[in-house]
Symmetry: D3
Subunit: 139 residues, 6 copies
Amino acid sequence: MIYITRRERFTAAHRLFKAEYTDEKNLEIFGKCSNPNWHGHNYELFVTIKGEINPETGFLVNLVELKNLVRKKIIDKVDHKNLNIEVDFLKNKFTSTEVLAISIWEELEKEILLLGARLHCVKISETENNSVEYFGENK
Amino acid sequence: MIYITRRERFTAAHRLFKAEYTDEKNLEIFGKCSNPNWHGHNYELFVTIKGEINPETGFLVNLVELKNLVRKKIIDKVDHKNLNIEVDFLKNKFTSTEVLAISIWEELEKEILLLGARLHCVKISETENNSVEYFGENK
Amino acid sequence: MIYITRRERFTAAHRLFKAEYTDEKNLEIFGKCSNPNWHGHNYELFVTIKGEINPETGFLVNLVELKNLVRKKIIDKVDHKNLNIEVDFLKNKFTSTEVLAISIWEELEKEILLLGARLHCVKISETENNSVEYFGENK
Amino acid sequence: MIYITRRERFTAAHRLFKAEYTDEKNLEIFGKCSNPNWHGHNYELFVTIKGEINPETGFLVNLVELKNLVRKKIIDKVDHKNLNIEVDFLKNKFTSTEVLAISIWEELEKEILLLGARLHCVKISETENNSVEYFGENK
Amino acid sequence: MIYITRRERFTAAHRLFKAEYTDEKNLEIFGKCSNPNWHGHNYELFVTIKGEINPETGFLVNLVELKNLVRKKIIDKVDHKNLNIEVDFLKNKFTSTEVLAISIWEELEKEILLLGARLHCVKISETENNSVEYFGENK
Amino acid sequence: MIYITRRERFTAAHRLFKAEYTDEKNLEIFGKCSNPNWHGHNYELFVTIKGEINPETGFLVNLVELKNLVRKKIIDKVDHKNLNIEVDFLKNKFTSTEVLAISIWEELEKEILLLGARLHCVKISETENNSVEYFGENK
């Protein structure tokens, strides 16, 4: 079993809040991240896949295909976007880094299988100090 | 003459656009950076000051004072904010990294003098690939 | 299960040595790290916690609370300190990065439970080339 | 159980190709990485070992010994070299990062045991966006 | 005057040697960098341009145009290539980082003028420890 | 004129204080950096030299010679040392990063001339947020 990680980057605006709360209550719970005028990040996305090396090609998957997949399914939808408003796979979701990681996992899991590998981890760095990892439901 | 650089970070939403243009024209000129729903960045701000070492203290300025100044005058105003809407010193300004660097220079120049040093450079990294430096009007 | 990592930094002096050894023997075993006049590092501390997303808030724990906890229990005690002399939770301990990671784990394990999550990993980078990870007694 | 990671760096030339294919077929499958005139990388190698802390010394292994081992067994053989031509432990192998990680594992596994620890992971970063991890046959 | 820096990356093989020297003499002068079987690097290229902000657009140049220019004139020619053999603007040149920086300056200088700015600096990082800057003939 | 920068790293303990002050006064002026029990850093040293490319060799200076010079004259004296006590060229000096940069300049200036180049800048990063640059007396 070998593990391969591809890093991609995107910049996006977002806001942590609950629609059913007042701005005051959102501020109390989510702090400055609840700013109704939005803020944003340079997100780093690390997609780790695993599997056996293909004896024909000598690698697990073609990295160009992995890159293209992640860009098409994720980066093109979130880059230079507002995560709360414009992203189909985040519709009606809370845009914490935790939820973002799980949502990206759900977008990629089956697609990675089609490449001949399995998704192992979705990691997102929101800032140089904060990051989240998701390994799927069973781990 | 000695040069000291302090790095601070902030996250913010912004949008590149001209109010007098249509969304289409803004898109044509500013590309995905003109998204009316905003996007955002983890900005890095590097403030470089210069001057002579104070023989009494052995350093140019007290770095804690420099940090506090940059945080009070800049970071507290831009962090987790929308640069186009909420920042007094960016009022009615275009929020390109270039304009941002010059505007921060104008906020800091006199304050640095009061610390006993001169402002040498304001550098802003918008992404790991793009950055801007401003050295004042005469350079 | 979701994993969240918070990075904090601290600078400290330390020395690798055994009180029962001579300076010569300490030098022989621990090399330049045994310098009786101390040396120091900019340590990076990565605290990884895990748990289920709170359906009420949309995240695992409030990152501000995690940050405050790590700063109060660890950073305030070790930053700009001498690890061999001044840190209560390192009393009479050898200050290798290994021991440091285990000791920080012991300080944080119960506190993280009170936040509603479980401690997963304490990682410390001593230099850009050397780091240590501890996952608790059972792993 | 404690985990220690040592980073080492090397620069090398390589080429992805199968000798039994034409240059055209290699280009089709391996893209620009198949350039018959070679290309190269600054590789980063992360060797993670695990084990119990030695109560006598206070650490897992002497990091200087680990560094010397990795340099002697790996870095000295691959640094400023052509991975396809000049490296004994890559003889007749495909030089993908995957194969490189597994081959380095095989070189180090027994040697780490002699240091009194076990090899846990060999990680190689080929670029800032691509990396591979290998944890041995059973994982 | 404002300064903007764009970072691009490329990987390439190269070798430091003089055709008129024997391999032995090349080894003596250029060390392991003279390996006849080549080695390689992940190069980082930083292109800094300067000029006045365009009052119409609010920035110095369109960063997308700068990126496209650098990619077309430089990156497409050197990425995944052998610098000693395959690059038109390095024909018959010694491929030290110094010569590389000057050669890239010569390729870009006039092109940057056409964008409405002036080239200020070409910086190349060959490894995390070594870099070169060139500011043109007059500086 | 071409500029070359070599990065070297060292770890050291130090303390900011004036012998003629009480510990209380030192604490008041220098804050936690005055801790009588010391603290420490992973310093990064960037030495930038400048000159004309040697037409014989194709580079400014042999980087190995530059590396060896910086290690012999600086790194061997400060690495794993106490800057206030053990370094000949810091004898009786205040160990601020400013003074450290100037002192290293004085150690290297003439030596760089012997290599056939001129010293342009000594830069020291004390933490990822703080750095100092010195360009010599005339700049």
